[in-house]
């Protein structure tokens, strides 16, 4: 299962696609409401000076997530 990459592993400015949010994750509802859904494009745009959290661009908004949260979001590379 090499293809199961999580959002926290994505380097800056590389656009990827969301596959799913792990169902046991407690913030799943909130993230879904923020538009984190299947097939949605997401791009990491900034990393905090201390290395965590990271800010992502999704649906025209910038949302910052801690590493622990981003680990629950499974993504795949965006096919070109």
């Amino acid at each position: 299962m090499d293809l199961l990459i999580t959002l926290d592993k994505v380097p800056l400015n590389v656009p990827v696609k969301i596959v799913s949010i792990k169902s046991e994750f407690s913030n799943k509802k909130r993230l879904t409401e923020l538009g984190f859904t299947e097939n949605c494009e997401i791009i990491p745009v900034h990393i905090s000076p201390l290395g965590d959290p990271t800010a992502y661009c999704i649906r025209g908004t910038i949302i910052a997530l801690r590493k622990e949260d981003a680990e629950n979001i499974i993504i795949m590379p965006k096919e070109v």
């Binding site: 509802k29 993230l31 923020l34 859904t37 910038i62 997530l65 622990e68």
Partner: protein
């Protein structure tokens, strides 16, 4: 038929301009700010259109109709319980795709919904074109685009709200209310179909070639949030704010002191002239007048300057970025990332900071943020710290205000440090748990509106502080004078208190008078220093001081040393919250338990720090 007053509710995602629309419609001054979570409670106002009266409610921003945090619950509860006649959704034109999720949820559940696509000016600038006709057709509701800041499109909005009230009469029978009937398990299923629906409508009605990842905001953030510059820039900005505050406050302070000294002489002359009894003279001139004069001359100028500067950076959109840059520290202390935002509010006023904690969804982390908020020195405590450090630490000369700024900056950094330590201790003892999350939106940078900032700071801050000075400080000034001049067995009542506290206070590097002033100053932090001065001025015929030189002579005459100064500053940073803050904690947590715990924690931390610092300095200095 009775004229009905219609109720209108403003709902929408956070930071879309609901409060700005509210202010534009009602002429009121709800606080606005460029970050998500500025409004945490409901505000009610009213307006008239074509002789129809409307009550309008400004609600906290929400991401969905299914609330996650207390401030969101406030908004959805309102919709549920009050069933407003017209619901106006305020949406952000620059990110309509995300906004549509909530819009669809609300249209599904409420009648008479009007969509106000706000921030249309920003959208235009970013090359985002919105086909409002198409949007209106797809959603089946009226859609208006507005620029609330410049009051564009608001007449149209009023007209549309008005038109929708007419609909109420026509479909009076169809009033069964569907709001919030959906069950929890259905919710997530519905959510996904709502989102794909939102995507579809977005594609049909919005055209854009906007590059979200390469705009000017990202370029600025590449510096502000960068590894090298991020934290130094924040410190630099804070130092600049403090320096402008301290340097700028010098002049009005000096002018006001001169004026009040003059006025006091005149007042005293007048009282003597009309043969006023000595005790009335004492209460009014030495008690009330002096306390008020001190607060207005010394405490007010820094507050009046600091507040607009702070608001400027808030409107610019910096607060969430500070939270972003510092989050790792808070994660390590096992607390919520949004705690930084509540601390920023605490810098203005701790009671406001405690209320702001509603933006934190997890109860455990919210309590930690509430308990520790008072470690951040509020606006009412700065001026005292400034006054003491300019006497004992900075000296005089060109660099004086720079040195004082550094002391205040160090105080704030120290306060953040203590907050983190105490938060960490709380997270591993009485409020055990893991950090929940940091899901925070970074808003676009916005140009602050200078005129509004200045008007707001004059009314909200300057007049507020003046009002509080009159309401709290004046009576306390009178009471203190009475206590000071009522003698039992040759000693004044007040000196019994300070003598009683004296031995313990000395262990803390203070003296009985200072400690007594802190205790009596519970109603308002800004009166502590004036109280200390009044206690020392046992002989009322002493000349009032016109500048810091006389104040420093007075303090030195009462055995103040650098040690006393440092310990007083430390105790000012770490002591029991003022009564307003305690009452707010009681209100926010619903009981006496947490205010009591907060009181105990802050008092013991303060005592501990002062004793340690005193010991340390006694050994090394």
């Amino acid at each position: 038929m009775d004229k009905k007053i219609f109720t209108v509710a403003l709902v929408g995602n956070p930071n879309t301009g609901k409060s700005t629309v509210f202010n534009a419609l009602t002429g009121l001054k709800q606080h606005t700010g460029n970050w998500t979570g500025k409004t945490v409670g409901n505000a009610i106002g009213n307006f008239k259109y074509k002789d129809t009266a409307f009550d309008i409610v400004d609600l906290p921003g929400i991401y969905s109709i299914n609330p996650t945090s207390p401030d969101e619950k406030e908004a959805t509860d309102y919709l549920k319980e009050n069933k407003p006649d017209v619901v106006v959704i305020v949406a952000d034109a620059t990110c309509l795709e995300r906004n549509l999720i909530l819009i669809l949820q609300i249209t599904e559940l409420c009648h008479n919904v009007v969509l106000c696509v706000n921030l249309i000016d920003e959208a235009k600038r970013k090359n985002i074109y919105i086909d409002t006709k198409k949007l209106s057709y797809e959603l089946g509701i009226d859609v208006i685009s507005t620029n609330a800041r410049n009051k564009k499109g608001l007449e149209k909005l009023k007209e549309t709200i008005y038109k929708n009230t007419v609909k109420i009469f026509t479909k009076i029978n169809s009033s069964e209310n569907k709001i919030f009937k959906n069950k929890k398990d259905n919710y997530e299923k519905n959510l996904n179909s709502t989102i794909s629906n939102a995507e579809k409508i977005y594609r049909l009605s919005v055209k854009t070639d906007c590059c979200y990842t390469c705009g000017i905001d990202r370029k600025i953030d590449n510096i502000v949030l960068s590894r090298k510059a991020g934290i130094p820039l924040m410190l630099l900005m804070l130092s600049i704010i403090l320096w402008i505050t301290i340097f700028g406050a010098n002049y009005p302070s000096h002018a006001l002191s001169t004026f009040f000294t003059f006025a006091e002489k005149k007042l005293a002359d007048f009282f003597t002239y009309i043969n006023m009894p000595a005790f009335i003279h004492g209460i009014f001139v030495d008690g009330i007048f002096r306390t008020l004069a001190w607060i207005v001359a010394v405490m007010l100028p820094p507050m009046a300057i600091f507040f607009p500067l702070f608001t400027f950076f808030e409107d610019l959109g910096l607060l969430p970025r500070i939270a972003f840059n510092l989050d790792k520290f808070f994660k390590n202390a096992k607390t919520h990332g949004k705690q930084v935002l509540t601390m920023c509010m605490g810098l203005g006023c701790n009671a406001a900071g405690v209320t702001a904690c509603r933006i934190i969804d997890s109860p455990r982390e919210r309590l930690i943020a509430i308990i520790t908020n008072n470690f951040i020195p509020c606006n009412g405590r700065f001026p005292g710290i400034i006054a003491i450090s300019s006497i004992f630490i900075a000296g005089t000369g060109v660099l004086a205000s720079l040195k004082v700024s550094i002391v205040v900056l160090a105080s704030i950094i120290f306060a953040i440090f203590i907050t983190l330590i105490v938060s960490k201790i709380l997270s591993s003892t009485i409020l055990k748990g893991m950090p929940s999350s940091f899901i925070l939106e970074l808003p676009p940078y916005r140009k602050p509106e200078l005129k509004k900032i200045i008007v707001r700071s004059i009314f909200d801050r300057t007049l507020f502080v003046l009002g509080r000075a009159v309401a709290v400080a004046a009576p306390i000034g009178a009471v203190i004078w009475i206590l000071q001049n009522t003698f039992i067995g040759g000693n004044s009542v007040l000196s019994y208190l300070s003598d009683f506290l004296d031995p313990f206070a000395h262990i803390m590097g203070l003296d009985g008078v200072i400690l007594a002033a802190f205790i009596i100053g519970i109603p308002a932090n800004e009166i502590v220093i004036p109280l200390i001065i009044m206690f020392y001025l046992k002989n009322p015929s002493l000349v009032p001081f016109e500048d810091t030189k006389e104040l420093s002579e007075l303090l030195i005459a009462n055995n103040w040393t650098i040690k006393t100064a440092v310990c007083t500053i430390l105790f000012s940073l770490n002591h029991f919250p003022c009564s307003t803050t305690l009452l707010t904690i009681k209100k926010e947590t619903g009981g006496l338990k947490w205010p009591a715990i907060t009181f105990l924690i802050h008092t013991s931390v303060g005592i501990f720090i002062c004793i340690t610092a005193n010991l340390f300095m006694s050994i090394f200095i």
